[in-house]
Symmetry: D2
Amino acid sequence: MKKLKIVTIGGGSSYTPELMEGFIKRYKELPITEIWLVDIEEGKEKLQIVGDMAKRMWEASGYPCEVHLTLDRREALKDADFVTTQFRVGLLDARIKDERIPLSHGILGQETNGAGGIFKAFRTIPVILDIIKDIKELCPNAWLINFTNPSGMITEAAIKYGGFEKTVGLCNVPIRYMMMASEALDIPVEDLNFKFAGLNHFHWHRVWDKAGKERTNEIIEAVYNPNSTKEFKGMENIKDIKMLYEQIKDLALLPCSYHRYYYVSDDMLKNELEEFKKGETRAEVVKKLEAQLFELYKDINLDHKPEQLSKRGGAYYSDAACEVINSIYNDKKTEMVVSTRNNGTISDLPYDSIVEVSSIITSKGPEPLNWGKFDSAPRALLQHMKGMEETVIEAAYTGNYNKALHAFTINPLIPSGQIAKDLLDEMLIAHKNHLPQFKEKIEELENQ
Amino acid sequence: MKKLKIVTIGGGSSYTPELMEGFIKRYKELPITEIWLVDIEEGKEKLQIVGDMAKRMWEASGYPCEVHLTLDRREALKDADFVTTQFRVGLLDARIKDERIPLSHGILGQETNGAGGIFKAFRTIPVILDIIKDIKELCPNAWLINFTNPSGMITEAAIKYGGFEKTVGLCNVPIRYMMMASEALDIPVEDLNFKFAGLNHFHWHRVWDKAGKERTNEIIEAVYNPNSTKEFKGMENIKDIKMLYEQIKDLALLPCSYHRYYYVSDDMLKNELEEFKKGETRAEVVKKLEAQLFELYKDINLDHKPEQLSKRGGAYYSDAACEVINSIYNDKKTEMVVSTRNNGTISDLPYDSIVEVSSIITSKGPEPLNWGKFDSAPRALLQHMKGMEETVIEAAYTGNYNKALHAFTINPLIPSGQIAKDLLDEMLIAHKNHLPQFKEKIEELENQ
Amino acid sequence: MKKLKIVTIGGGSSYTPELMEGFIKRYKELPITEIWLVDIEEGKEKLQIVGDMAKRMWEASGYPCEVHLTLDRREALKDADFVTTQFRVGLLDARIKDERIPLSHGILGQETNGAGGIFKAFRTIPVILDIIKDIKELCPNAWLINFTNPSGMITEAAIKYGGFEKTVGLCNVPIRYMMMASEALDIPVEDLNFKFAGLNHFHWHRVWDKAGKERTNEIIEAVYNPNSTKEFKGMENIKDIKMLYEQIKDLALLPCSYHRYYYVSDDMLKNELEEFKKGETRAEVVKKLEAQLFELYKDINLDHKPEQLSKRGGAYYSDAACEVINSIYNDKKTEMVVSTRNNGTISDLPYDSIVEVSSIITSKGPEPLNWGKFDSAPRALLQHMKGMEETVIEAAYTGNYNKALHAFTINPLIPSGQIAKDLLDEMLIAHKNHLPQFKEKIEELENQ
Amino acid sequence: MKKLKIVTIGGGSSYTPELMEGFIKRYKELPITEIWLVDIEEGKEKLQIVGDMAKRMWEASGYPCEVHLTLDRREALKDADFVTTQFRVGLLDARIKDERIPLSHGILGQETNGAGGIFKAFRTIPVILDIIKDIKELCPNAWLINFTNPSGMITEAAIKYGGFEKTVGLCNVPIRYMMMASEALDIPVEDLNFKFAGLNHFHWHRVWDKAGKERTNEIIEAVYNPNSTKEFKGMENIKDIKMLYEQIKDLALLPCSYHRYYYVSDDMLKNELEEFKKGETRAEVVKKLEAQLFELYKDINLDHKPEQLSKRGGAYYSDAACEVINSIYNDKKTEMVVSTRNNGTISDLPYDSIVEVSSIITSKGPEPLNWGKFDSAPRALLQHMKGMEETVIEAAYTGNYNKALHAFTINPLIPSGQIAKDLLDEMLIAHKNHLPQFKEKIEELENQ
């Protein structure tokens, strides 16, 4: 039997059961022989709980896949075929800071695109580059499937600064929008065609039916027209505040949930400030949810993914990861939306950028479907976000404080000026244990 | 003696004496034979006052130039060599609305880049296109020198939608920054070299001395370093709130005054809200200043530009216009910063955009010095602004309400969501007399 | 039963039986209800022969598809779902001139990229634009599948000048190269992945196996290394003269058969001059072959495609056409190489160019897989050819003689100077009956 | 008195007196204190002759500039302010081979764009990179003014591979075309405006008068219309064979002399073959001319540039070099045509290419006037040449034989195939003493 080794970094994550479920479901196509769940000292307990759960799931499946739990990343990586990353530097407590500190200044935290997302990138990029160093040494032919957020920026850092081209970034948001389109049109999702393009958590899409007719505008009507009778469930991790019909009507594109931060920033902020006051920011909710999940996972009789996991915003993420791996392994040519090198796919963005686009997943990696140009209004926001992302990544890589302030200054969710600087400084100090690149500046700030 | 005919649309403007002074100063190179000051019925009285003043100025100069005052634009345009535009649709009262209505919602008005600027574009674009129709018929070989704000967008509309390539847009901001550089380095302005690139009211520049040494960073230190002992006078029309040293230090570019709205938005807003409460928004201040100026102009003994005119934010505007005309007429090849077609000058912006860049002004028009690419952080903002401008112009041209809302949504100075829509609607109604293209929508709004 | 109407313009072509075979083979997926074979007066007899043959083929198949023969194009087009074009303006005699006249000057004729190809474009473009006018009126929702050569230029004219976006250009060359790769690697074609990019008759490709490993260089070794023991059959319509191993070895791309004209121009010319002397230019050979085919088609017992048809260079063309139609109709997402709008797929070519690239054929048309940039050496030739194509199309559209001469001047297969002008003039006169756009110039030439 | 040190590499060149004359003429603006003429052992005698002549010229001028003659390049470079390069690796005998070997195969040699030019690049690029290594160490603030041919490729190698941004490439062809325009229009050259863009020896230009009126088409009529009565002297180094009127008439651009190789290749070849037979190739003519010049230079009474020097094709080259140096030194902002980094100036060419364009020469180097896009026909050739140049430079830098063959294959002046390979091989062997990078391959070829 041919070896097929998967390594999951951040294996102690509450999402691991979904990942296991995804692999088990695909076992006949994707006969994994060993899975290594890797975590760090601080995550040891969670790794044990979720790792035992994973073992039970495989046992129940009847498939002969070995599950290894380890804190030794290098041992795990040796000769891996696929590496998935779902770790969270600083754990959920760091995310709580990412969200609460900005809100304490009256500013949206937003753990992927806002101040929180910038700090998540600052914490994660040094770690992902370290992992890549190991991968290049220990399993240079492996594929790295990243679903650690901010997924687009992490993928860009991995490819541009880490020089590891075989990195694919993943997100579950596109899947949600495929489902929504299906719901809006009453057409099964497999009978629709989609084209997505943009950045991670910042993409647009168009929808066609099997007869080749574009249905984008009908979905706009169903979702955004106030006279529409359709009801839609939003994304679990984003408050369901709708963009205005008139904002979307002539766009000829469907926005994604994160666009709400840019289209209805007033309501989004109001809402998050309320949650903040109640101690119910998304991070806090997730922390409780996660604690409940780990309680469930401790049940030695539980050997399948519990329903409750789907309430996490990240649902489908792991399933998408399994499908990417499956499609690469078997050259299945599944059409998926992934973060990959632009190379001209979106004409409005730099050639070497990472973009999130509809791609055919082949054994040689994702082949993006060409997109071309955007109209002026979406282009304005898209180009802004990409420039912001590049600035964040550069600051994360170099530890240049002024670049970091520049990233805060141009981030559309952060008001600029002294307020942005104060927020940056406070967050640097709060996260100091996970920001080696900013060490010197943080000490200077602490001594002021 | 060869005819050389200049037509000034918006001739009743308080700036006209500066324009006259500029022409008189250059008469030996630029022997103008006739100047036609054109205005509309509502501006008749001001035209008479400032026109009489203009006549006195020429008389005092001793040069044989005829000054004509007229409300008949078409008569004036016949066979013109140069047409300058400095009109303000809706006069200063419209500007007061542009500033006060947004501030009444707690939002920056900003008469060129913000909500106010968008409405100024909405009011002005139909008029400039009308003027161009006349120019094409009556003086197709003339050059159109536009200094009506928002100068970049008006120039883009004139060239892209009006199809009149011989349009040059002007602004006085670059001149101010040349002076500031000179002050910062204690080097006469003529001993410095500059390179500006970006958009109108949204450009950056670099500075070199005559030995070819770049001095940009020294100016950054002199202007932005809190330890600097240099004092600078700001632009009269923009509150002198400084950007933070750390924001600028690693930029390797000098920003312009309008960047403050994007770099220190918090202070800018606070300040304008205070002015708003005191009834001292810039528009209101200008209105008082203008009334004083017209009082002065009535003095039949006054035959030269009064000192007080320099306090207007637009000082040097008219002088720049005279110099552009002079340089075109005499093929002087003066290096100036003008709004002109991009054609690849700035690689980050669309080929057919209007950009504001250092150019050699020749008898065949401006020849932009190539600029190339920006770094990610300034690029982010620049591309955003251009996409926003394009959306504004398209909305102004088509009268499409949804495009107008989109322009408001993506404008960085306007919070997005219902608040933006409410503001848009209120401004549409407030300016209804000057927005023929939105007539139908405004009626609908009024009937709600 | 739902109507599904196919119209084939140039229905009297000897390729029609292959087309019928392709449709019959796919009938269960693609239940065509009516096929209209259209031809012109001069092709009436051939239409009757091949049309009767087509009818026998369908009868033998047992499927209820009606075959109509007509000279009335407009009647045929009414409500068509798909229109295929395989006509040859001036018939094979025109092609004989395209090849023999240049060779009589010692110059390669080359019926698609050389002087012959330019004249084929000159004759065909006015006709295709006429057809499109009819399509827009009579069946605006149809897809136009063009396999009239020069397929890339005709498709570019149809989309750019005809404004008919639903045009797809086809060629059989890529299929041949897929087969060659399969032969070189001893791997079934369905177990290989390909990526093609370039222009019609001027593309490169790369090959991977199902495990994602690139095999391009192995194919280069098998095909071009003089020590290789593999034997390959060339394309029937291009003399099998090999490019040099050293030319290809470091290219990391596989060229196509038409590249021989640019890589081993000396041998190609020598060979064609020999054929010319013997009266065996490709056109003359084809004419004989075609006469034989029509003799076969007359046999009232023949009701399937005869083997001999495969000897034509165009074999697989019709099958590719059937598959494109099938994939559009059924949204099959077959990966095929087609001529379609660039839109940034190949970064080195203009956005609005037609390119020939690997695409997913969906019900909304071809979705090109993004390609990006070429290395300098292939880029040099590719950009040259595209500029040449654009010049040809513009000359064909406008009838501007100087543009036509410019196209000849920059065509790499035609020596420049007086010789090119003499050749152009002689060909204009020789083809005068099919060049309405050059009428005036031709008369002038004849009267010299 | 402030030091101002000029170093001329290839100081023994027959052009040196023109250079001296140019410096003497400009002495009041450009007070050079020392000139170092550097040459190699093989050029020692010529260096002595021309160096003595140079000394006499300065003495006659009365200006206190020291002239140093040396074979020690490093000593000369120490603290230089400007370095000019006018050396010829392998001397004129190498050029004779560059021209005669191709012609012996019936192929144009062409010492800048053809096979000869490719070999000149192969020989020169290793040397220029060596010089740059010394410059970076010994005079890192100097400007390198290169007028060694092929000037564009050498400049591209210096900047891209040598990483020395302060390199400016020069050519005298544009000056000739300014004079021709002046002659054609009967307008003094200083009353005309020009815009040049393209590559070295492959550029186009447009011409305007001081009133801003374009005069390009009038010059086309005067030069190319067979009915024109104007007579023009061609470039001394290129046979005066005219392009056809119909080729140029609708171009709206004026070509340069080297375009003849691509527009009237037949006549150019015929002519050079005749010269070849007579032993009068350009290189041989130049060698005789040069011998005569050195005879003149030996005259100890000669202390000014002799008239005969102007007959060399390179006349004005040295004067252009003096003017570039003067304009950089004094920030004169002279408009000149130089080879410099593209950075988007010509949209059709790669961002990092070297292009030859109208530029303002400032103390910070050349500032190119933006050009934008070309029409399809000139674009085709231009892009081809740039890709060819890149391939040549890469082959020259790496010593990759296959790349070299590729450069030969795609060079439009060399027929492709075995003939190109044979020519390449023969030239490699013939030039083996100056091609260290191809050493191994040459040995292999010699042993075949």
